[in-house]
């Protein structure tokens, strides 16, 4: 079942950072829930972003700012986890920033970052983040639902996918001087995935502007998919009829699928996806990886009838 009453959601589902998100804010999120409900979205989705506490099962406290901003995969700044934090703030200029929205839509446009974001209410969403390398974090994002931005462009019925592109600029992104991947980085979502209320265009973490190493000024967050789907430093959003050629999928088609839904049943060809190391959990502890990274109730319906081994 996709739609559930908020009190059906296990408290372990999502945990807000309590020190950060005070109770007063829940009222605001309650209003957001009502707004989402009127948009036809399951009310539980909004509620689960505000789900409280984690008394039972495994706790999901958010990772620290330090962890989130020093341990990154952002090959545009080097292939070591510490490279982005070291290099990105030096060379990436997140302002001024322009995002082009085009393709199969009635109202294409080029937006300055502020014009893209300002019309929308920035929301706080604490999501689990699961890397394809079998580690995970919990990240308190700030951002706007992607669907709101897409709706403004008025996609045509022929638009079946959304393609995202990262900045291509070897001066700002020195890692692009080496052909580790086929630059610029490209990712894509099916239209229903892109319009899903959980899908976020993140602009910040812990209430602060998105750091360069985390994909400033604007990145995608799709919490039920592996991390590499969450494309960073986006400069273009394009509606297409064909499935976009996503970078890691092109690079190693048998290892990284287009869908890349978190799935403990389908292993990466070289390593198991059944369990994960939660950053900050301490030594020698693995958690079981959850189907769709724990968001199955909200998203599994979109993949009903699909062979998830084939469309991994």
């Amino acid at each position: 079942m996709l739609i559930r009453r908020p009190d059906d959601i296990p408290s372990s589902e999502i945990t807000p950072e309590r020190d950060y998100l005070d109770r007063r804010r829940f009222l605001g999120l309650g209003a957001a829930a009502a707004a989402l409900a009127t948009l036809g979205a399951p009310a539980s989705l909004a509620a689960c972003t505000a789900a409280e506490g984690a008394q039972e099962g495994q706790a999901d406290p958010p990772n620290t700012w330090e962890e989130i901003t020093t341990y990154n995969n952002f090959y545009e700044f080097g292939t070591d986890k510490s490279d982005p934090a070291e290099n990105a703030p030096k060379t990436l200029r997140p302002r001024p920033w322009t995002v082009q929205v085009d393709g199969l839509c009635a109202r294409p446009g080029r937006y300055a970052f502020d014009d893209l974001v300002r019309p929308h209410r920035v929301q706080h969403r604490t999501y689990r983040f699961r890397c394809v390398e079998a580690w995970s974090m919990v990240i308190p994002w700030d951002g706007i639902p992607l669907r709101d931005v897409l709706a403004r462009a008025q996609p045509r019925p022929s638009a079946r996918f959304v393609e995202f592109t990262t900045l291509l600029d070897p001066v700002q992104m020195p890692g692009q001087r080496r052909q580790v991947l086929d630059w610029p980085y490209v990712e894509g979502l099916r239209m229903d995935e892109a319009m899903h209320p959980l899908t976020l265009l993140a602009t910040g973490i812990y209430g602060r502007a998105l750091p360069a190493q985390n994909g400033a000024p604007l990145r995608l967050v799709v919490p039920w998919k592996y991390g590499f789907k969450n494309i960073k430093s986006i400069v273009r959003i394009r509606f297409t009829a064909e499935q976009p050629k996503s970078t890691w999928n092109v690079s190693a088609p048998d290892e990284y699928g287009f869908y890349a839904n978190v799935n403990p049943q389908v292993d990466h060809p070289r390593w198991s996806q059944a369990r994960e190391r939660r950053i900050g959990d301490g030594w020698f502890r693995r958690r079981d990886t959850l189907p769709f990274n724990g968001y199955a109730e909200q998203v599994a319906g979109m993949y009903r009838g699909m062979d998830l081994r084939r469309f991994f």
């Binding site: 090959y75 292939t79 510490s82 690079s251 070289r270 950053i279």
Partner: protein, 206 residues
């Protein structure tokens, strides 16, 4: 001078590890950091071990042979540490570990390398060298297989950026290539009359 240098070099990775652990210098994913650090220590020390014979041949410095056993044993020590960290990373869960070793080629390669190195470490004592005689030399050729498997293990574990494993592969290839003249020479000698008896205590060159 040689012995202290070998000991310092052999203990350096451990010292750096302990220092990083004590001062919060490990990465946000400390188990992965530990795995990588110990794994690289194994490869570096194995390559050093394999460099001893070519260095001896090229420089004529026979004393360097004394470095070989401690270097090999240090390599084995870090291999054990690496394996222990891996076991811990799997929560010491036998089911997952057996599946990994059997089904994931890079784990299989690494595990096999460790298995191959084990008898070499055990038979590294003077007593075993004496007892095994000529067979000791044959047995210790396993180090080549272990080194190749170790580098393959690294190469297969990497997601995309293969520069570092390829560097190790290149050094290993060089060290093996440097042995070819020696092997050819030894072959010639085999067809010739028996060579003079080897001096005692001088372990056969690997």
């Amino acid at each position: 001078m040689l012995k202290p240098a070998v000991w310092i070099g052999g203990l350096l990775p451990l010292a750096l590890l302990v220092l990083a652990g004590a001062t919060g210098g490990l990465e946000a994913d400390p188990v992965k950091d530990l795995t990588h650090r110990t794994g690289k220590a194994v490869l570096v020390l194995l390559l050093c071990t394999l460099a001893v014979t070519p260095v001896r041949r090229l420089t004529g410095w026979n004393g360097v042979i004394a470095a070989r056993r401690p270097l090999g044993l240090f390599a084995y020590f870090y291999a054990c540490l690496h394996f222990f960290v891996y076991l811990g990373d799997q929560g010491f869960a036998p089911g997952y570990i057996v599946e990994d070793v059997l089904e994931r080629p890079y784990v299989t390669a690494g595990f096999t390398a460790l298995v191959l190195l084990t008898p070499l470490a055990v038979t590294s004592t003077k007593g075993w060298i004496r007892r095994l005689g000529k067979r000791w030399t044959v047995l210790h050729r396993l180090v080549y297989a272990a080194a190749v498997l170790g580098v393959v293990h690294f190469l297969w574990s990497v997601k995309k950026d293969v520069r570092e494993p390829l560097l190790y592969a290149a050094v290993l290839a060089l060290l093996l290539a440097l042995r070819i003249p020696g092997w050819l020479q030894a072959r010639k000698k085999k067809t010739a009359p028996r060579p003079p008896v080897r001096v005692r205590g001088d372990a056969p060159a690997v």
